[in-house]
């Protein structure tokens, strides 16, 4: 066990491509934008366009758990992605044999229930549903996941733009290095709702809102099942009055190694957004392969950066690349990057 080495033990995903990493990667391999669906916008005839997560087939057993029957869609995404990433270790957590930490990351959170609850408040606050309100809190998905697994150790929900998932990886690594957990699952999740789609439209007119989750399960021990090594998470470079996104992206890029043969870059850029311009400029000299998941899956904020990292890990696990850089120039907070390596070398 290396002093500061952290390994990726499992991956999970829920996306417009379907439920599971396999479907996510198949869609990315194909490289075609997934079809968008109409989403009704109350009060307007013209619907919004979103890339929704298709219903799961078969319906996951965990949907029937008492804590999850009425839980939000973002909770369903969170739990599904986390359980896929944990694989057989979920049973160890449930038996108490493994101390699991949970880091949940989101930008919009449980927005559908929040919108629904506040609409009830506007209509008649005295009858607003007490069942809905608790599901609106940002940490409800992490709480449900912990309850399903019986994980009573460290748990944290962090909120911010796309880059938050990478902050979550760093937080998880810290817990592992300090022996605060045996394993940590980091989940980035979002859900669709007309209110978010409309809000996003003010800033990214051509983007299609989507939803889902990505999960990465981290351990200190390298096992035969390890699919990648988390080699680095850069500093978070904020977009502030004194540092614009171009400068932040440049600094992030400077902390990641230059392109070497056999490396992949997974970018956050989508179409002609401001973020794309900054990111493209930062990675202008990159001569290796490049993957842009949002072009296929749509814009899902923190779930998008989670998909980036899942795709990065899967790429090295398949042996397609020896190293992958994930670059995130977020919506409105930060530029941050991560680097994943193949687990070929002895530990």
């Amino acid at each position: 066990m290396g002093v500061n080495r952290i390994f990726v033990r499992g991956l999970g995903a829920v996306s417009p491509a379907g439920w599971g990493v396999e479907k996510l990667c198949a869609a990315l391999d194909k490289g075609e934008s997934l079809p968008a669906q109409n989403l009704a916008r109350p009060g307007l005839e013209k619907p919004l366009r979103v890339r929704s997560v298709p219903p799961p087939v078969p319906r996951p057993v965990f949907f029937m758990h008492p804590r999850l029957r009425r839980a939000s869609v973002i909770t369903q995404h969170t739990v599904a992605a986390a359980l896929e990433a944990l694989g057989g270790d979920a049973a160890q957590v449930q038996s108490g044999a493994l101390r699991l930490g949970i880091v949940a990351c989101t930008m919009s959170g449980s927005v559908a229930y929040s919108r629904r609850f506040y609409e009830e408040v506007l209509r008649a606050p005295e009858t607003a549903s007490p069942l809905v309100f608790p599901e609106t809190v940002f940490n409800a998905p992490a709480s449900h996941l912990a309850a399903y697994l019986g994980a009573n150790g460290n748990g944290c929900t962090i909120v911010g733009d796309d880059g938050t998932f990478l902050q979550g990886l760093a937080m998880a690594a810290g817990w592992l290095l300090n022996d605060q957990a045996d394993g940590v699952v980091v989940v980035g999740a979002e859900e669709t709702d007309w209110i978010v789609s409309e809000a996003m439209g003010f800033f990214q007119r051509d983007a299609v809102h989507s939803a889902g989750a990505g999960a990465i399960y981290l351990r200190r021990e390298k096992a035969s099942a390890a699919c990648a090594e988390l080699a680095a998470v850069t500093d978070s470079f904020l977009f502030t009055q004194n540092q614009n996104r171009t400068e932040a992206a440049r600094k992030m890029r400077a902390q990641l190694p230059s392109c070497a043969p056999g490396e992949l870059l997974v970018v956050s850029a989508q179409q002609n957004s401001r973020a794309a311009a900054a990111e493209n400029l930062a990675w202008g000299g990159w001569s290796g392969s490049r993957l842009a998941p949002k072009a296929v899956l749509g814009e899902a904020f923190v779930a998008s950066s989670a998909w980036q990292c899942v795709a990065a890990c899967e790429a090295v696990a398949r042996g397609q690349f020896s190293a992958v850089n994930a670059s995130v120039v977020g919506a409105n907070q930060q530029a941050i990057g991560a680097r994943f390596l193949a687990c070929a070398e002895p530990v």
Partner: protein, 415 residues
Amino acid sequence: MLFPPSKSLATAQPNRVVVTGAGIVTALGLGWRANAEGFRAGRPAFRRVTLFDVSRQRAKIAAEVDLPSGLPQTKLSANTMRRLDRATRMLLHAAHEAWTQAGWEPSEDLPVVLGTTSGEMALGEKFLQQALASPLMKRRQATRVVHYQVQQQGLDLCSAFGFQGSLTTISNACASGANAIGHAWELLRNGRAEKVLTGGYDMLCQLTFAGFDSLQALSPAPCRPFDAQRDGLTLGEGAAILTLETLAHAQKRGAEILGEIIGYGAATDTHHLTQPHPEGDAALAAMTAACARANISPAQIDYVNAHGTATPQNDATEAAALNRWAGEGAKSLRVSSTKAASGHLLGAAGAMEAVVCLMALRGQWLPPQMSLDKIDPACRFQIVRGPADARIETALSNSFGFGGANATLIFRRWA
């Protein structure tokens, strides 16, 4: 780099972490002095809510902050200052006080760790109101989207003081502020940073108020933590910010030290989304973990600032946990909930109560709770019912939140 750490943790001795600045805004007032006077007297700060319509709610009171029209001088432009929302204004007041007290300079690598439950939710409410009432009207909507999001309040804070480090916003419901301080403490303790600005903030908003009212968790009257007849909490709002640094860093620059954070523990209660386990297992685990990391026993804790929301379930659970944790020593343990004065600040509660603990340690007094008629017999410990001077070396603060987030911080007097 956020990872890997720049120093090897395997050989590093944990750093001692001290507080060199504290800022606070509550309904009791603006700043350390006004709040210290209010908390020392246990003065309740409740009134009828004016920020939004409560005429159809069961409860109608809260602890509203009277914010001054002006803002402290920062690096923000006058235009930016004019458009700042209520949550950011509270945050800036608290941060400026802490910053000034600490005497810090702007720093490239200063991490900021904040806790909040809903940031500037009032702007989100306005966005939805307009989107429903006038779907074609887009005026101000984009601005509301930007400023509603929790990262924007943190970014405004960073711009105001010239910070360029990372911004982490923790949202673990009512434990957010304590978890934020705890995470900051861990960054310093483990050699990831030399100084961190941390704390919590939350403002009153209609969604949250109606939400707690829908759960019948709000009391129509001022809350009475640990009272046998308690019937719910009273909401408040505010911000509290701490400047934390390693002891070595603080001593090197000759900083005045307000107190030391010696322990932090966190645990998750998986019993129910909103109801704690009746025996307080997770609360006990958080307190036990904090004591273990502080290397002290419950008998060495002189004062407990309880989470003490005044809901029947929270206080019963916390009492059970405190009884189990303190054991035979419970009868001499002094406990109070300062929410009886300030109301429940939700994501800011843990940070606000951290500042109260520092005030108590600095001033050598116990924060009383005045609104208590008959103590719940489940409490085997002493409730501080009136203003009192006392010799206290250590103080423990509990914060428990929806979703089962439990956090405990332990502070030591700096002599």
